[in-house]
Symmetry: C3
Subunit: 455 residues, 3 copies
Amino acid sequence: MKLLKTLPLAAAVIVAPSLGFAQEAGAAAAETQFIFTTLLFLMGGFLVFWMAAGFAMLEAGLVRSKNVTMQLTKNIALFSIAAIMYWLIGYNIMYPGDGWIIQDVFGTISPKDIKTEIDAGGYSNASDFFFQLMFCATTASIVSGTLAERIKLWPFLLFVVVLTGIIYPIEASWQWGGGWLANMGFSDFAGSTLVHAAGGFAALAGAIVLGPRLGKYKDGRVNPMPGSNLALATLGTFILWLGWFGFNGGSQLAMGTLSDANAVAEIFANTNMAAAAGAVTALILTQVMYGKVDLTMVLNGALAGLVSITAEPLAPSLFDALWIGAVGGLIVVFTVPLLDKLKIDDVVGAIPVHLIAGVWGTLIVALHTQATLTDADGNPVLDAEGAEQTVGFFAQLITQAIGVISIGLFVFVVSFVVWYLMKLTVGIRVSEEAEINGLDTAELGMEAYPDFTKG
Amino acid sequence: MKLLKTLPLAAAVIVAPSLGFAQEAGAAAAETQFIFTTLLFLMGGFLVFWMAAGFAMLEAGLVRSKNVTMQLTKNIALFSIAAIMYWLIGYNIMYPGDGWIIQDVFGTISPKDIKTEIDAGGYSNASDFFFQLMFCATTASIVSGTLAERIKLWPFLLFVVVLTGIIYPIEASWQWGGGWLANMGFSDFAGSTLVHAAGGFAALAGAIVLGPRLGKYKDGRVNPMPGSNLALATLGTFILWLGWFGFNGGSQLAMGTLSDANAVAEIFANTNMAAAAGAVTALILTQVMYGKVDLTMVLNGALAGLVSITAEPLAPSLFDALWIGAVGGLIVVFTVPLLDKLKIDDVVGAIPVHLIAGVWGTLIVALHTQATLTDADGNPVLDAEGAEQTVGFFAQLITQAIGVISIGLFVFVVSFVVWYLMKLTVGIRVSEEAEINGLDTAELGMEAYPDFTKG
Amino acid sequence: MKLLKTLPLAAAVIVAPSLGFAQEAGAAAAETQFIFTTLLFLMGGFLVFWMAAGFAMLEAGLVRSKNVTMQLTKNIALFSIAAIMYWLIGYNIMYPGDGWIIQDVFGTISPKDIKTEIDAGGYSNASDFFFQLMFCATTASIVSGTLAERIKLWPFLLFVVVLTGIIYPIEASWQWGGGWLANMGFSDFAGSTLVHAAGGFAALAGAIVLGPRLGKYKDGRVNPMPGSNLALATLGTFILWLGWFGFNGGSQLAMGTLSDANAVAEIFANTNMAAAAGAVTALILTQVMYGKVDLTMVLNGALAGLVSITAEPLAPSLFDALWIGAVGGLIVVFTVPLLDKLKIDDVVGAIPVHLIAGVWGTLIVALHTQATLTDADGNPVLDAEGAEQTVGFFAQLITQAIGVISIGLFVFVVSFVVWYLMKLTVGIRVSEEAEINGLDTAELGMEAYPDFTKG
């Protein structure tokens, strides 16, 4: 997403400034723009909401049947908690510049809502809140897959409270709240780093503190623990792919002009291309490397393609989207085994998909989008013909790296501390017996498929 | 939903009434409004259509594997029947004031369609029909879950014919067709009572006439009969949650102005909050009460939150939406066991979710929305400063209660009679043998999961 | 879909041509129209994308559990390949009249994208590409179901390359690219023939070359091989039904005027009615003919209803949509056994649903939509009152038949040759052992449901 724009409501007035009726005509056009952009947020928002279902299905399909109920419970609970925490705290931390909500939440006893004021940027505040909330929830969804099959329910949900109420809003405010990364020229259109890598770093910290599943790494070998329902996992991937059109397209943050509508369309096309390229790359690579196509790699390849294009889904051509997504697919195929070598047990492959492909997507932004070069006074530097100069590929690449590293460090360290403190106090891991018997019966007393599973 | 508005197409003319081109400019703005509102109906409509899939998955997941094919068959059949009956009869009963369709269906032999006329309210008639149809179908979807695992297919579908062709349209016309409840000041924005409680009352009548499943209540104990696929049930819940944005948001019935678009956005945000609060409440309550989180309660908690906010998703603040939804979740946790005490066997928990939470949602409307006080001549009563007076909380609460009771009584009594007549004549319950072996093989000769189920 | 329209961007100018500000006012209206139509393409496009998930779930549910991973792999792979091939070659073949992309792909080394130019028709090129791409992918999705459970992965995907890169774009260009069928007066609104029957003909050729599954037809009897997961199959059907609103509605290709928005709404209503009628017809017919309702027939009945209305979803009344869809349902019930008599093994029933119902839908167009009669100079023939004359039902029927036969022959023959060449060279069928053990373990080494399946 770009920074929140401040499109003056009166912008359309310039259409026919010399006529007396101009303001009326302009007002009408501004209202139409307001509705289009609000609609973009709502449509984008419900598509990203749908990603919560995608994560739930993907993860439920990739865990063993004895842990499915738990995985489903975590997913619907984490979304619900995110929805509450982001309203209660997160949104205010993330957009400190927006006066309208801070006073409502902190200044009065009963937290008021987002109703009374219309955003100056030309859209409904409520639609913006609805859309932004979904990004916060997505960040939490990424974490649950990695830590599946061994983490306790309530400590996990406590971490979600911290992540969605504090960690995500702080790091996201550095960029989308108009913070220091934004001022530095960092660019992350829809959140390859702010959402995906951030979720991945939180998951990585958790995986390290939590340790691998029993028997996963034994006698120097990696013991495969196949997912119980690849139909669900595939469904989840398709849901995520669909939701991503809203994730990236909605991040244009405007649809009231021909130019913005066209941009949203280009983003849809590029997003689709990157996903397809990631999937095809994993398809071919697993065939070549292992002699057999690996469906879970193809699914994760598509997702990695999506994550890769998320940092800049607009500027690249379709061909660029193809190779950027293809590298995402390649990353998945090569880094999933790498994590196993490091004995980091990532049940669904969320770290390769969201963290590593997220970093890739963020760095490659430097090729297509570069900040404007400014002089000491902050004015743009112009070339001989009066065009604005950009900082160039390498300077932008360094800026991108600074963004990735700073967000990565912040999220990883804070998450690590939170996980570690919980480990020392309440404990974060189920008992060995519970893990062997499955979390569903041991922790919840409820099987996901009571009629099917073997004796 | 509000009553059908009569927005004159020429409304925009007032923008610049003194200029000769005003009508043309006005017409253009009115056309834009027409498209936005039509689009809202179409988008809302396909989202509510999607709820039919949600009910199918939720119910298929909550019945035992031996009854899954039957449950799926009922769900796709009931939607299809609703689509035909609502066109053939229902829509005309529901909107007696709209002359355009009655003469087409009753006045000629071949039922004509909704094509030729554009609604005076500023949207496409066809889009309105499409949207309204989905609400009728939703009412029927609610019934199928409660009566699962023991009711015969064809008597159930016959009831759907009566419900969608006659019962629902009649009671819905009392409010949305501009009938006596609307005139009395009753308020039910998107149908907590008109759709959800109504469906719940029809289900309750059926459950009483039909009786509980064999062995459900035995020797004074409640015998749990766990659902066969909690992944499907969770998917169904997410689908319903998604569809509800269309259900409540579309019920604004207009998106052509800044104010309406903002209202739709606020409805989306409130709807999401109520669902999240219902889920979190059930999550915490089941942990506290039973020492273990119960996923099916969490799912039903989210749904009850959604039902609770449906009667008024616009006026409440986000904080109000939170506690209104939370009470919905609380209702589920406490009334599911209550029904079992009464030996009313509701397989999926539809009565707590749709009926009881629906009543709650409808009553609490009185807090945020009150009818205007009128004098003997029907004119609004003004206070000293000229502002319109409202009837006050208690008067509105009584009106809400009258609405709930009248609709509840009507739907319950008529449904009871229909169920009872069918019981006396064709019979509504499968044989004991069929129930024990499962409806899928006994009634349909087709298993849902032939490769998986035990021995 | 209609032919690509060439709506001049300045069209709205005529609103008030005598005033000096007309162009500005017109331009604003044109921009609003541009956004609406672009939005229609994007919304339609993501709904049709969702159909890819629908096919995946439908097919995964209708194959035996030992072949589910393979079916899922084929579905996500075919969509991804279609996305790339349609960009690389297909789109240019299909729209030879659109100069803007040919030079980009063939004239330069690095295929450029669809970014720089805005289509003259009043919408974003990128949105059009996104929408059209989904139709190409749908054509390929149809093929995978018929050939399930016995075809090798890579030869199947090679066929998808040819189908989506060459076969589909060529035949589709005859009509939607402004080719000879369009000039002849052939009418296929959203692709009953261009997409559905075409996919069906490609599948039929494959089924003949490939032969039936082992043991399917033995000792003169048809051996039923029931699908492993009817919940998934039902989910897939609901997904397809939902996606079809985008498929047919989006094919209006415009939403910027009251008339176009109303048309989209009518299409939604008709599409829904045809699906419902197809389902109810199959419901009743299977009860009457076999004494038991057959869920898979009901699902395919709904889909056949959808295919039947696709060639003309706008002109028919709701009553017409009902009987057109009902005949689709009837076709399914009668032709599924017919194919078995011919020993053509169509695993999911795609040939009855897409090919035969597609032909039905295309022919019946002649009743509601007839081309304008022209004289020797190509001018419309007018009657005494100056109204344009149409060619009449029989002449249109013959035109429709010519379209169906020419596309059918072309797709069938080319597909047959491709399948046959692959059979002679690389081989298209798995080994007997692999077929018996299931393609999942034999070809992919990965079970879809490792925890559930028997022994």
